[in-house]
């Protein structure tokens, strides 16, 4: 290149060098753009892996939460009916509750009078009421539901009986 030539030659080559630099700059810019695109792809793929990982864990845990939840509900029901042995059943129910907590799940236990929440409650029966204020609220709870903290959603809805306003012609 020009460094090994004499000084006169360097001056004569100047426009050629400028063009070469320009070409290099353009090529670098293209490389830069491609690298940015790759970067973007890597970030997107990483996000996707994370999403899949969480999704997969949530999918694996979902039946466990549902089954443990069912067991906890059954034990709690026995506890309420079993007289003296009820304390034992309640203890077992608490233990299952703790297991659920360890996998990031918590019970959904609506209180009577709370509004029925779509997606979190399953209405298994209706109780007619004359009180318009009670319409669409929980009358009683048949079984707790469960919220999966990892997935951020209710995976088992609570089974509730809901108040429904009696229509005038029915009253």
């Amino acid at each position: 290149m020009s460094e090994v030539d004499d000084g006169v030659a360097v001056e004569a080559h100047a426009p050629v060098t400028a063009a070469a630099v320009e070409a290099l700059r353009a090529e670098l810019a293209a490389h830069g753009a491609r690298a940015a695109a790759r970067e973007e792809l890597i970030i997107r793929l990483h996000d996707e892996v994370q999403r899949l990982r969480t999704g997969e864990r949530a999918a694996l845990l979902r039946p466990v939460i549902a089954d443990l939840g069912r067991l906890r509900n059954a034990l709690a029901r026995q506890a309420a009916q079993a007289g003296e042995a009820g304390v034992l059943f309640a203890g077992f129910a608490d233990e299952v509750g703790l297991s659920l907590e360890r996998v990031g799940a918590s019970p959904v236990s609506p209180k009577p009078g709370e509004p029925v929440e779509i997606g979190a409650h399953r209405v298994v029966g209706v109780v007619e009421t004359g009180d318009a204020g009670l319409d669409g609220t929980v009358a009683s709870v048949d079984a707790d539901g469960y919220f999966d903290g990892l997935a951020g959603k209710v995976v088992v809805p609570a089974l509730v009986r809901a108040h429904r306003l009696k229509r005038e012609e029915e009253q």
Binding site: R44, A59, R62, I118, G119, V123, V124, V126, D142, P157
Partner: protein, 552 residues
């Protein structure tokens, strides 16, 4: 950048599924973000303020808000029905569009790309109005519906029985959650035809669950002493037994017996339910499906003498019960194929969508040439990121569906004495196109004439065959035009002035009609609409529905 994705939607009566062809070229089902698994309940709830919820959450509040929850919308497709909920009015098309929107939103969350091109499946028995309504539901949901395909055809595509299967006859046995269909399809050079179909819209897997629940209940009652208490009065117990039955049914597909432990208050029992018990309790249900299958085969023998079934495909989750395959094998002496029965239709529809795009053709010849197909495959490879070779393999064979039912116009037999006093009784249907005509079809030409002097208008009434067999009598046909059907502007003259009618049916079985006056070649105004909703109504509904956020 690969941005284009081809989707297939199984828009079902009770559940719906959406699938797409991924970058490896495999059909992939979009998981439902809101609940367990791949399916979305086809149930819509409309809130007080008009905002919609689709899926299991909607189903869960149905007992509380029976007036605001709509299920089984598919049964109303093609009918002029309206629901007024939350201060708004909904048609079967717009409610189906809400389900499609929810599926599309889930797909967007899963793939990161909006749903554009999609194929929607319909039952083989759906006629033109129902297909048109399904297509409009897609349009209202903001989708680019590139095809409507019969469910058994989509299933056959998934089972990959289409390639190199010329001349093959396939029986598709589809036992879903609430419906049963059996369909015979024929794979011919360049097309897949639905030869005949039969079924029961009230028979499905849920009936098997109820029978198994009865078995569990009977065994429980025999084992425990309940005194005067009738367990059937206890709603909670009965619900648990039914849920138990659903689980046990699935278990009995893999094992010979399953333990169950029903509990009622302080009383509990533990016993095994065997596959033998289950099959004995449900034998008549299976028999019913076999009767339908036999009837379908009898229709096949009658209409296509000499045709024998070469393959049996099982579709629908309930076909996992071993008794189904065993019974069909004994009946037909063929080993039924069972693969992905819940998702086969959606996956096949996604394959069909990609194939449609490769074969899309508006040239003069019947089919595009080799070069054109190769070029399309390359173009789609560039836009989807799927290898061109994979695309060509999926689209190896062009799938052309056929017209499900015959179509025609109502004519008056003026040779019949006294026809003027009894126009109705002197009318008959002349079918211009027939069931199983490959699509697209036409133009079919017909020359009509005026029947009285100076008749300036002709009323055209379009009819679709309503029974299994094409017959000219009015009673065996259904009127399908939702407009006046009036051809106007006919020059005055003696009776017998000619009017030419041309009928064309596109690839999805949708019909268009033109009328011309032959001497002037002038196109006459014709008011015909083979859709419950007209284009303006669809557009208005699209604007309304796509502006809503559909929750799950």
């Amino acid at each position: 950048m690969s941005d284009e994705i081809f989707f297939g939607v199984d828009l079902g009566t009770t559940n719906s599924v959406i699938a797409y062809i991924d970058q490896v070229g495999e059909p992939t089902v979009v998981p439902n973000q809101d609940s367990d698994g791949d399916i979305t309940a086809s149930v819509v709830y409309i809130d007080d303020d008009g905002s919609p919820v689709v899926g299991q959450a909607a189903k869960d509040v149905a007992p509380l808000y029976p007036d605001r929850v709509v299920a089984l919308v598919k049964r109303e497709m093609g009918r002029d029905r309206e629901w007024a909920i939350g201060g708004q009015s909904f048609t079967p098309e717009s409610l189906s569009a809400l389900i499609l929107r929810r599926l599309a939103d889930n797909a967007f969350a899963h793939t990161g790309k909006p749903v554009g091109k999609a194929v929607i499946t319909v039952p083989a028995y759906f006629g033109m109005l129902e297909r048109g309504a399904t297509r409009n539901a897609g349009r209202i949901a903001g989708l680019d519906v590139i095809g409507i395909v019969p469910e058994p055809v989509a299933a056959a595509l998934h089972y990959d029985v289409v390639a190199d299967a010329e001349g093959k006859t396939i029986l598709v046995y589809d036992l879903g959650g609430g419906t049963f269909d059996t369909t015979v399809i024929a794979i011919e050079k360049g097309s897949i035809e639905v030869l005949c179909t039969d079924g029961d819209s009230q028979l499905g897997g849920v009936d098997w669950d109820r029978r198994l629940a009865d078995v569990i209940l009977r065994e429980f009652k025999e084992r425990v002493d309940l005194g005067d208490e009738d367990p059937e009065d206890n709603e909670h117990f009965m619900r648990e037994v039914l849920a138990m039955a659903e689980d046990v049914k699935k278990g009995l597909s893999r094992a010979q017996s399953r333990p169950v432990a029903p509990r009622l208050g302080q009383t509990g029992a533990r016993f095994d339910v065997t596959r033998e018990q289950f099959e004995a309790a449900t034998a008549d249900l299976l028999d019913a499906t076999i009767d339908y299958t036999r009837r379908t085969l009898a229709t096949l023998a009658e209409r296509h003498p000499g045709r024998k079934v070469d393959e049996v495909l099982l579709v629908g989750g309930s076909t996992r019960m071993p008794a189904v395959a065993a019974r069909l094998e004994a009946e037909l002496e063929l080993t039924p194929r069972l693969h992905d029965p819940d998702l086969a239709v959606a996956k096949g529809a996604a394959r069909y969508a990609l194939g449609q795009a490769v074969w899309a053709w508006d040239g003069d010849e019947d089919t595009p040439g080799e070069d054109r197909v190769a070029a399309r495959a390359e173009a789609i490879a560039a836009s989807t990121g799927i290898a061109a070779a994979t695309i060509r393999k999926i689209a190896e064979k062009r799938v052309v569906t056929v017209l499900p039912k015959a179509f025609g116009v109502r004519l008056v037999d003026t040779s019949k004495p006294g026809w003027m006093d009894d126009v109705e009784g002197s009318s008959y249907i002349e079918h211009l196109v027939h069931a199983n005509d490959p699509l697209p079809s036409g133009p079919h030409h017909r020359e009509l004439g005026t029947v009285v002097d100076d008749q300036g208008e002709i009323e055209i009434q379009l009819y679709e065959q309503s029974g299994a067999v094409e017959k000219p009598e009015l009673a065996f046909n259904t009127a399908i035009d939702h407009d006046s059907g009036l051809v106007s502007g006919i020059p005055k003259g003696k009776a017998g002035m000619p009017v030419h009618i041309d009928m064309t049916i596109d690839e999805e079985g949708l019909l268009s009609l033109t009328a011309t006056e032959p001497s002037s070649k002038k196109e006459l105004t014709i008011r015909v609409r083979i859709n419950v909703l007209d284009d303006d109504q669809v557009e208005a509904a699209r604007r309304r529905i796509t502006a809503l956020t559909v929750k799950g």
